[in-house]
């Protein structure tokens, strides 16, 4: 018999000075993911918003398909597809104001594009051209982050700094289910809650970290439950329901902007394609599972709603697809041009002023290039 089992021997009375800080109940996520589409609540949704989301989802899907095709043509070094996750990507971009900041992970190119970054520039990293093809300040989009969860503390620091300066700015940071196991995830959430920083953490739980399923990633009831331990609300939402995603994320953004502090949002979704073109997903999951999720497709779900409400007809669907086709054609045409890279750029931005050592190396490369040009090398 353990001490805990000896009734009466254990007095669960905390020391006198100890007080619980918060009642965890309001921080706990709902038992099931929040949904709007297919429920009566959908009738309340703003038609303009629904149409906007639909157009972006169709564009997003086409972008995903085109980018994947570009990897097969060798135009992209790698592309982590977000097919099936477009509702998360689009909602993350659309809930932000211009002054807000987006902190994407490597799979979130689509959110970056939906935020307004040029589609070719957004692919610069994945193309193998310079690392970040866009100026982060221009659209207030941090560089696509390859290490897992390390961009989350950046979002916290930026939001904290904005608040210190008296600016009305919110940071939205995106991470995958695997990323929630990283130490930086924990440190970022803890800092955000302690500082009451205006940050929204969006976890896209797409089922797998490359090949490792969620059950091997965490023993928590849901990833949204993790919020409670930090003292922030956790929200569980259907990541394939664009309206639900928009609702929950804009709630969280409003809450942060009003000084309420951070929120952790878990979007339950699915990566219907492989991790990247270098991955064989048949080794770790059954086709039937993928098929089931394809039937819960974010575009179909919204299309059904719009059609049922008479907000979309065949012409509307065709128009959205033509718009997406234009995007794809432009992307194809521009990605099929070889980028002109200047080798001397290697040394340009290591430091504000190159060190004497880098100046020597720069001179060496310049001489090598000159010799190459003269054909004497």
């Amino acid at each position: 018999m353990t001490v805990m089992e000896q009734r009466g021997a254990y007095r669960p009375t905390p020391p006198p000075a100890w007080q619980p800080r918060t009642d965890p109940a309001p921080l706990l996520p709902d038992a099931a993911p929040y949904r709007v589409l297919g429920t009566e609540a959908a009738a309340q949704a703003d038609p303009g918003l629904l149409r906007r989301l639909y157009a972006q989802l169709v564009r997003g899907r086409r972008y995903n398909v085109q980018a994947t095709a570009l990897t097969k043509q060798g135009r992209l070094a790698v592309y982590p597809s977000s097919v099936g996750q477009e509702a998360c990507e689009v909602a993350a971009a659309l809930v932000l104001e211009d002054r807000d900041w987006l902190f994407p992970s490597y799979r979130d190119t689509l959110a970056v594009v939906a935020r307004g970054v040029d589609p070719v520039q957004a692919l610069t990293l994945l193309r193998g051209d310079w690392h970040t093809g866009y100026n982060p300040r221009e659209h207030r989009v941090a560089p696509l982050c390859t290490p897992l969860a390390t961009q989350l503390p950046h979002a916290v620091g930026l939001a904290h700094a904005a608040r210190l300066k008296g600016d009305d700015v919110v940071a939205l940071a995106m991470v995958g289910d695997g990323g929630t196991s990283e130490g930086d995830f924990h440190e970022a959430l803890n800092f955000a809650a302690v500082w009451q920083a205006p940050v929204v953490f969006l976890v896209q739980n797409n089922g797998f970290a490359i090949s490792v399923p969620l059950a091997k990633q965490t023993a928590a009831p849901s990833l949204a439950h993790k919020a409670v331990g930090y003292g922030m609300p956790g929200r569980l939402v259907d990541g394939n329901d664009a309206v639900a995603m928009y609702d929950v994320l804009s709630d969280a953004v409003r809450h942060a902007r009003a000084g309420g502090g951070p929120t952790l949002v878990e979007a339950v979704t699915y990566r219907v394609e492989a991790h990247t073109n270098a991955d064989d997903d048949k080794r770790y999951r059954a086709d039937s599972e993928v098929t089931a999720w394809r039937e819960h497709d974010p575009i179909d779900l919204l299309e059904q709603e719009l059609t049922a409400r008479g907000l979309l007809d065949e012409d509307g669907i065709r128009a959205a697809r033509e718009d997406a086709e234009t995007l794809a054609a432009d992307l194809r045409a521009r990605m099929n041009q070889d980028p002109a890279l200047d080798p001397m750029d290697l040394f340009a931005q290591v430091y504000a002023e190159p060190t004497p050592q880098l100046r020597e190396q720069r001179a060496q490369l310049r001489a090598e290039l000159a010799a190459e040009a003269e054909g004497t090398h």
Binding site: H131, T150, P153, E187, F191
Partner: protein, 334 residues
């Protein structure tokens, strides 16, 4: 001309003064770390800053080094100039991913759009009787990471000047503070602190003709004492204080070695893969025909930092330096 009374100040006081002056000059400068606020830091280097500038400018953070440095990245992205304290050398290791994967390369990966003016203050090195994980010399790790400046003062005046320069730098600086010199004193005029030295220049602390001791940080006083002791043996040693490991001042170092013809690198971090190997190679590549002997190294042993009761056997002291100086005779040994 009025004479100003010089007052003794410790290196710790000079560092505090540097942060205070930087904060007073530029509202973007924010100090952050564990215990830096109310307590003033475990070494009291941030003493009084929270009181003077408020807790928003000198912030006690949660105990999490990756979080501290990661948050500093975001703050710098928004235009602040964070000065981060890593409480002890080995406590900085959890923040390595942030330092290597983000701090060092944000300027480069964004093609100059997003420089990160972050100063990472790391009290480093042994000699204070610290238990495990409180005495590491981690400079080689930082030196091996492009995009970081690595600076280490050895005098009170440099502590002030170089920290001001580090905070003013638009690039990240790992500022290594030799903790056993925190309480070393020098006289200076508190009303007119020493001029800010640019980062990247070494200085000859003691001119000499028979050999060059190349050193930095905690080993500078050891080398100066060795140079005094060596006089009786007929050695006239020149002592070069590097002050900056990145960028490296080849010019000052090589000019000295060409004058003396002999060189010895002294530092307390391990020799294998340590800064001395790089420095010896650079000197050999540039000064081979001037050298009368191989460039030698006196370094800490290649062991995890030893317990306090044994650290005196590990740290390069005056005797070990003098032994190596003797070996610089070379010709006699051939």
């Amino acid at each position: 001309m009025t004479t100003v009374a010089l007052k003794p100040a410790t290196m710790a006081q000079a560092l505090t003064r540097a942060m205070r002056d930087a904060m007073a000059t530029d509202p973007a400068v924010h100090v952050m770390g564990e215990d830096v606020g109310t307590l003033g830091g475990v070494f009291r280097v941030t003493d009084g800053l929270a009181k003077e500038f408020g807790e928003d400018r000198c912030t006690d953070t949660p105990l999490a080094e990756a979080g501290i440095l990661g948050a500093a990245v975001g703050m710098a992205m928004y235009g602040l100039r964070p000065v981060v304290e890593m409480q002890f050398d080995a406590f900085a290791y959890p923040a390595f991913e942030q330092l290597i994967s983000h701090v060092s390369r944000m300027r480069n990966r964004t093609r100059g759009a997003m420089p990160l003016p972050i100063t990472v203050r790391v009290p480093y090195g042994g000699g204070i009787g610290g238990v495990e994980h409180h005495s590491d010399s981690s400079e080689a790790y930082y030196m091996a990471t492009p995009g970081l400046h690595v600076v280490t003062p050895a005098t009170v005046a440099d502590a002030y000047g170089l920290l001001r320069a580090a905070i003013a730098s638009d690039d990240p600086v790992v500022f290594l503070e030799p903790k056993r010199l925190y309480w070393s004193k020098d006289s200076w005029n508190p009303d007119e602190p020493p001029a800010v030295e640019p980062i990247g220049r070494a200085v000859v602390r003691r001119p000499g003709r028979s050999a060059t001791l190349i050193t930095y940080g905690p080993s500078l006083p050891v080398c100066l004492e060795a140079a005094r002791a060596a006089e009786s043996e007929g050695w006239d040693l020149e002592v070069v204080d590097l002050r900056s490991l990145v960028p490296f001042d080849d010019e000052t170092v090589c000019a000295s070695v060409r004058r003396t013809g002999r060189a010895l690198v002294v530092h307390e971090s391990g020799g294998y893969g340590g800064p001395g190997g790089e420095i010896a190679a650079r000197v050999t590549e540039r000064c081979f025909h001037h050298l009368e002997a191989p460039v030698l190294r006196v370094a800490g042993f290649d062991i995890p930092y030893p317990p306090p009761m044994l650290e005196r056997h590990h740290l390069p002291g005056v005797d070990r330096v003098l032994d190596a100086v003797g070996r610089l005779q070379w010709e006699a040994e051939r």
